[in-house]
Structures are given as structure tokens and as C-alpha cells.
Amino acid sequence: MFAIYKKDLKSAFTGMTGWVLCAFVVFMSGLYFTALCLTGGYADYGYVLNNMTFIFIAIVPLLTMRCVEERRQKTDQLLLTSPVTICQIVWGKYLALLTVYAVPILVMCTCPLVASKYGTVSFARAYSCILAFFLVGAAALAIGLFISTLTESQIISAVLTFGSLLILYFMPSLATMLPSTAGASLIAFTMLAIVVGIIVYVMTKSVVTAAGVVSAGEIALLIIYFVNSDLLESAFPNMLTALGLFSRFTNFVNGIFDVTGLVFMASTALLFVLFTCQSYEKRRWN
């Protein structure tokens, strides 16, 4: 694991990618820090970070799409035939990505110190925001890493990651736009079941399994709908809001140390790293 970690980290900083992305994040944070804190006089570093959540949509696809290269150059053949487990490979890669991303975060950590020169700064609030910001990025990177294992093209990987993160970013606003009646939720969940069914079909190539998944979901939905339709009242928008990765971050900006939010981010990251392992494993069984 450590070998892959070192190799990936080194290759990120041997080429331009690592440096350019770090520079970009540092530059953006510096820009907002200057505008909001130094010039605007806000003592709260959270505002700077709140304005910067969009950077994940830009940098995560660029960082994770490089993992596709491994497969295209067939170097994964070396990794997968060497005496390390798939989990070790994936963790090595993921931790290397995290480290690249941690470099600008460390630079950001100095900003509240600078601001404290000019006034009173709540360090607890500033650093809990930075921690949450780091975890949001960690979750986004795990999602990107997973998507990169699904395709063999860097472009497709980048576009898919970009799209997924964009949807996550706008999830809360999307949720408010949807009608909240039970019937609308039923339709939305039905569509979701069909999408899941299609994914199951693509992965297993078995019509029976896919149809089984869809009909099981649909029957459960119909039972809930006819027995107690109140349960479905605005259930779909609520689910979307709950899954909004970025909206969790807002709590920290507002000065709440949201433990559920931290657990949500960390478990999203873990879940997608696990998915990545499974995706690697699945390739072997094609």
C-alpha cells in the first residue's frame, strides 16, 4: 500500500497536475480571503470556504481522471499481479489523492492565524470549518475515484465525475423544485427503481435479476402508497436534501459543529472507496 501511495504522490508532483491544482486552490482561497476577510473585514474564515465549495467540481474530476491512465497503459497489470490486495491498491491511490488535496488545505490553515493579527478570530469555528471542508473534498474524491474505475477514458471519467458532483451541489435546490405530493414521490421512486434495475442489468446481464429488483421495489412502493401514503409525502425531495453532500457543510459555516454531518461525509468517503475496491475486483471477473 505504501509503495503505491508513494508512487502516486510522486507522479502527481513530477508532472504539472499536482502543482497546478494546488496552486489553483491556494489562489482561489487567497482571493476570497483577501476580498472577504482582509478587505471586507469578516472575522469568520467559514465564509471564505463557503464561497469555495465549487472548487471541488473543478479539481476532483481532474485529480481522479488520472487514475484511468493506469488501466489504459496496462500498468494495472503489474499492480493486480503483485502480492498486494486490491484494498491496499485502492487505499494507496486514495490516500495519495487525499495528500495532494491536503497540501492547499494546510496552506489555508494559516489564514485564520493571519486574520487573528487584525482582530478576534474564533479558531474553533474556523478550524472546524476547515475540517468539514476537507471531509467534503475527501468524499468527493472517493466518488471521483469510483467513477474513474468504471470507464477507460479520462474524458468520460472527468465528465461523469463533474456531472455527479454538479448534481450533488445543486441537490438541495433541485429538491425544492420538485412537487412534494405522495403521488409525485411515487413516480420519482419508480423512476429510481427503473434506473437501479438498468444498472443491475448492465452489471449482471441477467434480465430476471434486474426485473426482480425493479418489481420488488415497485411492490414495496405501492404497498406503502396504498397503506399509508403520508409516508411518501415529500419523501423524495427529503431524500435528495439528505443526500446533499455540500449542504451539510453550510451547518459548519453557520457555527454548528454537526457531528452527523462529519459522519455522513466520512462514511460517504469510506463507502465509495469500498465501491472502488469492488469495481476493481469485478474487472477481474469479467
Binding site: 508513494k6 507522479s11 499492480l79 503483485s82 469479467n286
Partner: protein, 330 residues
């Protein structure tokens, strides 16, 4: 050392490798021979655990590659068809990485890398970026990677592709030197290579095993029926009838001859019998002077062609097979 039982890989209805069974003993060099798309790479990818098998087992030194993958892989050094190189590293960095990946202890890494670089002759390019190296050097760096950690089993997928003739000879010598304390499985579609270095040959075609023996036996096997080519003066057109009277002649085929008044006959004998003396005396008795005579010795190449053309795939199928094999590697 390497035991393969009923190894099968299916992609839908197409079987890339179909029920392959063979064993490679310790210290042996075994050649996997077959036309393009025969399933050589797929077989090797299964032995090294890169892809799964649909059916059957592969084990190295008694360790099943699917049940105990880490332990089994630790015993294998693998050079795939396309060397898995990180092009933005130098060979030295790359090999250090491979050594670490294979669990070579930190203190021994440098010496180990120096040793394999020395062996494969990449020491003089150790500090250049791999992306600037020629195909031959890249191949050697990949080979060096397979040797790192001194694994007991070395698996090489077409190791001499892209090398110049001198390098090919060097590579063969190198493979031969490995045999003293390693077990080697190498694939190729070039016959001389296999006959030059291998103790055992496995010939596969369309994923099926068609022959498994030593190169000598293989040539002998298909040589039971000898062919004798004789060119004689034939003014009265009696060569054919004279030859027909001889014992043990199964078939005579008259071929056109460039020399005027002469004819060339290709004689197939029923058994492994040398008919040269009989043919020569019979012909001279009949007044047909023998101009030349030649026994055809089957090379491994002929054996290979004979064996693989028996169940020759149709062109379209073969292409499909290759495609699927490629997909498998992805």
C-alpha cells in the same frame, strides 16, 4: 511447479481458453505456442491472477492462485505482453517501486535492483526516463521488473517482441540462464524461439490444447511418415511405374521439374522407413539416373502449422477471438 487443470475462460458463448491442462516442472522452460488469438495471453493472465477463470484451477508451487492469491503471486514474476511501465519514471525508480510492491526489504532494495539491471543490461539507461527509451529497452526494463525479488516462477508473454536480432539472442541466453534456479513459462508465436530455449512445448489453438511434449518428440511424432523428394532423368516416362513397384510406398506425387527431361517425385512412405537406397538402385536399374534426392525433415514450424491448421479457425472468428482477448486484458 505450475499446475493447470481444465483452465477455461468464456466470454459469453465464445471460449477464449477451453479446458487447458498441463504441468510445468521445477527448473523447466516451457513454451506456450499458438497463433494470434489462440488464448496465450488469456492463459497467462489467468495463471498470474490478473483475470479470473470461468472454470478450472491454476496453482503455483501448490498454492492456488484463486484461493491464496497473495502467496501465490509472491512466487511469480510476470512480464505481460505490453510491459507495465510508468513512463514518467526512470528504470531505477520503477524497479525500486516494483521491489517495494513485491515486499523486498528496504535495505536490500538497492542491491536487488542493481542485480536485475545488471542481468538485463539496463544499467546504462538507469537514469533516463522510461518514456525516452526505445522499445527494446522498455521490454528489458519490464523483464527486469519480472525478475525483481527473485521469484521462483517467471512468466513471460512474448518476451522477444520488438527486439532486434542481437537482442533476441541475448534474451534467449538470459532465459536459458534463468532455468537453473527458476521455472519459466513463456509464450510466443515464433517457432525458432521455442525450439531454441524450451524443454517442453504446449501448443494451443483456438483455446484448446493440441500438443504437449518436448520439441524433439513433437517433431518425431509427425515425422512418422517421411517424405522423400527425388529428381531423376525420365526420358521414357517410366519413373512413376518404377517407383510404384517399391515396397512401403504409400503415395507418389509427380511434380513439374525445371530441368529438361527430368521429373521430380515426392514419395510418402507408409512407415518411418528410409527408402533412399532402394529408390536410387531401382531407378538406376531402370536407366533413370538420379539427379538429386532429399528427405524432408519436419521442423517444429511444420509441426505447428500441421497441428494448428487441423482445426483452423475461420478468419472472422479469429479476429473476434483476438478482440475478446484484448477486451479481457482491459
Amino acid at each position: 511447479m505450475i499446475e493447470i487443470k481444465n483452465l477455461t475462460k468464456r466470454y459469453g458463448a465464445h471460449a477464449a481458453v477451453d479446458g487447458l491442462t498441463f504441468t510445468v516442472e521445477k527448473g523447466e522452460i516451457c513454451g506456450l505456442l499458438g497463433p494470434n488469438g489462440a488464448g496465450k495471453s488469456t492463459t497467462m493472465n489467468m495463471i498470474t491472477g490478473y483475470i479470473s477463470a470461468t472454470d478450472g484451477t491454476a496453482s503455483v508451487d501448490g498454492l492456488d492462485i484463486f484461493d491464496e492469491p497473495q502467496k501465490a503471486r509472491a512466487k511469480i514474476g510476470y512480464l505481460p505482453e505490453i510491459p507495465p511501465l510508468y513512463t514518467d519514471m526512470t528504470p531505477y525508480e520503477y524497479l525500486i517501486f516494483v521491489a517495494e510492491l513485491k515486499g523486498v526489504k528496504r535495505a536490500e532494495r538497492h542491491d536487488e535492483v542493481e542485480r536485475v539491471m545488471e542481468k538485463t543490461g539496463v544499467s546504462d539507461v538507469a537514469e533516463r526516463l522510461i518514456k525516452n527509451l526505445s522499445k527494446g529497452y522498455r521490454q528489458r526494463v519490464g523483464f527486469a521488473g519480472a525478475l525483481v525479488g527473485n521469484p521462483e516462477v517467471i512468466i513471460l508473454d512474448e518476451p522477444t517482441v520488438g527486439l532486434d536480432p542481437k537482442q533476441i539472442i541475448e534474451m534467449r541466453e538470459l532465459i536459458k540462464t534463468l532455468a537453473s534456479d527458476h521455472t519459466v513459462l513463456l509464450s510466443s508465436h515464433i517457432m525458432q524461439e521455442i525450439s531454441a530455449v524450451c524443454d517442453k512445448v504446449v501448443i494451443i489453438s483456438k483455446g484448446k490444447l493440441v500438443a504437449y511434449d518436448t520439441p524433439e518428440n513433437l517433431s518425431a511424432d509427425t515425422q512418422r511418415k517421411r517424405t522423400l523428394k527425388v529428381t531423376a532423368l525420365d526420358t521414357q516416362g517410366e519413373v512413376n511405374s518404377v517407383l510404384k513397384q517399391l515396397k512401403d510406398v504409400e503415395n507418389i506425387e509427380l511434380l513439374p521439374c525445371e530441368e529438361e527431361g527430368a521429373v521430380t517425385a515426392e514419395i510418402t512412405t507408409t512407415e518411418d522407413k528410409d527408402l533412399r537406397a532402394e529408390v536410387s538402385s531401382a531407378l538406376s536399374k531402370a536407366g533413370c539416373a538420379v539427379l538429386s534426392m532429399k528427405t524432408e525433415v519436419l521442423s517444429l514450424e511444420d509441426v505447428f502449422l500441421a497441428l494448428t491448421s487441423e482445426n483452423q479457425p475461420e478468419a472472422s472468428e479469429e479476429i473476434q477471438g483476438e478482440k475478446q482477448e484484448e477486451e479481457a486484458q482491459k
